[in-house]
Amino acid sequence: MKIIRLLLILVGAGFLAWLTYNHFFPNEEKRIRKMLTNLASAASIPEKKNPLGAFSAISKVQDCFETNVEIKVESRFEGFKGNISGREELMEFVKLAWARYSNVKVEFLDITVTIDPSNDSATAMLTTKVTKTGERDFLFQEFEVKLLKHEGDWRIAQMTPMKVLH
């Protein structure tokens, strides 16, 4: 009985140690997922906007992208058709969105991450869902996201829409 109890304690302690290690030293895939989740959160626009919150969110969004980022957006996003080239243009777009909209929730769903063998680039497939809070209807678009690692941080270099029905 004592041996079983000891074994149970050891298994529990091992599990806790594994959880702690993963929390403080996540693998690259988890880091990318966390970055994308944080980006979705920062890209969401609350109902009650304030200049400080806007500044903080916009700078968080900026930190997630390469300076020469390329984003293609298809016509399903009405009014957002076209390409965004470079972080400066993206920031103008984000500022405009903050000025024009409120109560917008952005989510990245069904994320699949593939790390390249070099370990400094990766590809993520995800579905972007944009909802106006309180409304049932939403916009969505599937994206292929290319990421690069610079000084330990993952940043988005390219976002290209995917066509599920081709």
């Binding site: 769903l109 069904d110 994320i111 579905t127 599937e142 995917m162 066509k163 599920v164 029905l165 081709h166």
Partner: protein
């Protein structure tokens, strides 16, 4: 020899109603039930809420339904099946009807679908506009899917070829 169940009589009525005569057995039953329900809704039947009008009048906007993931376990998808097609996962899916099967050539002329040059009878299509689509050959792993609502502008309607491995299941 007679056996009397002394514990049965000692269990208060409220306890028998709430957690049963034998709480451990009740707990095991609950766990099995929860595992079964979660398993069924995770791996067999996916509850879906329809958003959009592309499947009108068969499926209405904001209605709920179920998609059976095991429908195509024993046989391949068939023409006129309403299927769920995954995007990058199953959190958001397309709900469309199969009109073209692998190996066929499909075209649309003035709103009439042609399969290998023959017009396709589509009793489920009520609203129709003169859509046009040049002939599209389907590969051995491709199905052509489209919504029932052809009364909307063609460019606003998501339709096209889907790979077999993108088809999640059939709508019940």
């Amino acid at each position: 020899m007679t056996v009397s169940n002394s514990t049965e009589t000692k269990v208060p009525l409220w306890q028998r109603i709430v957690i049963g005569r034998r709480p451990v057995v009740t707990l095991i039953r609950m766990v099995i039930l929860v595992v079964l329900i979660v398993g069924i809704y995770q791996f067999v039947l996916i509850p879906v809420r329809i958003t959009g009008i592309s499947m009108e009048p068969t499926c209405h906007d904001r209605h709920v339904g179920l998609v059976n993931r095991l429908s195509y376990y024993s046989h391949e998808p068939e023409r006129s099946d309403i299927v769920a097609i995954k995007t990058t996962g199953v959190r958001i899916m397309y709900l469309k009807r199969i009109i073209g099967l692998p190996g066929e050539t499909l075209s649309i002329s003035n709103g009439v679908v042609h399969i290998n040059g023959e017009p396709l009878s589509e009793p489920y299509v009520v609203y129709k506009m003169p859509w046009n689509l040049p002939p599209i050959p389907l590969a051995s792993n491709e199905y052509f899917v489209i919504g029932d609502n052809r009364g909307m502008p063609q460019e606003q309607h998501d339709f096209g070829r889907a790979y077999r491995n993108q088809i999640v299941g059939k709508k019940l």
